[in-house]
């Protein structure tokens, strides 16, 4: 296992499967009266969140605590970052307190990769800019596997604002690692440039048109699961689409679309990484349907993050010396 988890591409298929297997045993723990194991006793995990978050931060904190690690939460507001300290100084300050892992959410893509060059402890990416969010992809894969079994050849459709989505990027990698077929759907303005190069990869397809894909007329045929991405309201004024209503008509999982999906496959799954904009990218009927596994995703989040902490921190002690001279360049 690697020391850091920066990108979903850091994990081989065996490693992903090991983490998901461990996560299953962690999931059992959540149903117990005593939700605690002594595995990471004496380890310290710092959750450093430069961006707002409910589920990722709380689930990392719970995950650490249930594993008996000491977890501490820091946010940009209320830390020295608000006094103008650079990311590098902040990271090295925290690292100097001999912590074992730094869980980082940052608005700059590549921030976690950069921090990993500066510190001795393990770095876990909890979302960096529009780059990646690997633990989200793992918990989505866990949720899908729980319901669908082996993901080899299963077809997952990801719909929404791809350009700004780190969840989508990590999911495409992890689902690909597990052998699933992925079709990504977005309006042309929200399709990342250069995605044509991605679609060379096996089992990966793109589309600007949602309905034919949901009807099983796309490259990968019938749909096993649909993942709706959040429309980030701050993008609304960016000219990516004319109105919210127009987005819903073209790309929302409306009641009508859900009914057609269910008519074809009763066991189809609806995922959403949250927080949901009900009525925009996902209709309330779809969010609360029996097909929706949104809350399963949240509950899997804790188990998967426990498994990630376990695999990164439980092994042999290999205290790397502090780097003599840290490399140049700082992420603001």
């Amino acid at each position: 296992m690697t020391k850091h988890l920066i990108s979903s591409a850091d994990l081989s298929r065996t490693e992903v499967e090991d983490i998901l297997e461990t996560a299953a045993s962690m999931h059992d723990l959540q149903r117990r009266e005593v939700k605690k194991v002594p595995t990471l006793r004496g380890r310290t995990v710092i959750n450093f969140f430069f961006e707002d978050s409910t589920r990722t931060r709380s689930s990392f904190e719970i995950a650490g605590k249930w594993m008996s690690a000491d977890t501490i939460n820091l946010s940009a507001k209320g830390s020295s970052t608000s006094k103008g300290e650079s990311l590098r100084d902040t990271a090295m300050t925290v690292d100097a307190m001999a912590v074992d892992a730094l869980v980082i959410r940052h608005n700059a893509s590549g921030a976690c990769h950069q921090v990993a060059q500066w510190v001795r402890c393990s770095v876990i990416n909890a979302g960096d800019g529009t780059h990646e969010h690997p633990t989200q992809a793992l918990l989505d894969a866990y949720t899908l596997r729980t319901r669908l079994g082996d993901l080899d050849g299963k077809h997952v459709v990801i719909v929404g604002d791809l350009t700004h989505s780190r969840v989508f990027r990590s999911n495409v990698i992890t689902l690909g690692t597990l052998g699933a077929h992925v079709t990504v759907v977005a309006p042309p303005t929200l399709m990342p440039s250069g995605i044509g190069a991605w679609s060379q990869a096996d089992g990966f397809a793109t589309s600007w048109d949602l309905d034919p894909v949901l009807d099983g007329e796309g490259e990968h045929g019938p749909v096993d699961a649909v993942m709706m991405l959040r429309v980030q309201r701050e993008r609304m004024s960016g000219g990516y689409f004319p109105t919210a209503r127009e987005y819903t008509v073209g790309y929302g999982l409306t009641r009508d679309r859900l009914e057609r999906l269910v008519a074809r496959n009763d066991d189809v799954l609806v995922l959403h990484p949250g927080p949901m904009n009900r009525g925009l990218e996902i209709a309330p009927e779809a969010a609360d349907s029996p097909q929706s596994v949104v809350l399963d995703q949240v509950s899997a989040g804790v188990a998967v993050r426990m498994a990630v902490l376990y695999h990164l921190l439980a092994g042999e002690d290999t205290p790397a010396p502090l780097p003599a001279s840290a490399p140049e360049g700082a992420v603001r």
């Binding site: 297997e21 045993s25 962690m26 117990r32 005593v34 605690k36 194991v37 042999e316």
Partner: protein, 174 residues
Amino acid sequence: MSEGDISRALRRIGHEILERNKGSEGLLLLGIPSRGVPLARRLAACIEEVEGTAIPVGELDITLHRDDLRRNPVRTAHRSRIPAGGIDDQVVVLVDDVLYSGRTIRAALDALSELGRPRAVRLAVLVDRGHRELPIRADHVGKNLPTSRDERVHVRVAEVDGLDVVRISGGESR
């Protein structure tokens, strides 16, 4: 130990467990992965043969409770399978292949305490090879194998390895 030796030892342990417990009432067998699990199933089959009633069998994964996690590469944790009735007020018999330092059993006792409060916990092992590092002993032993620390005891069971055998290798020739 040959296939026959192993089967006779398990049969005797099955009888001992029943004798000690005065029947199969409240008995629950938990195998410790990996080879304790098939052994627990076979013990349960022996007991069912004698008593005519099936007794619950489960698996207890102890990975998260090991005290040597920091000395070894990370092992994948597996799910424990605890029979539906739980372990509260049951007589839990832990089943493992080899009893050596006793550290696995300590971890198993810790894992058990998080699952509930059994009426009693007993330990059945196929081989006791000595060299305990903790004050732990087995209630039921298939065979005592005096070994030196630089020898290795290999237990192979049909369900995992395709054959039943116990062998000692390494150390000075004996």
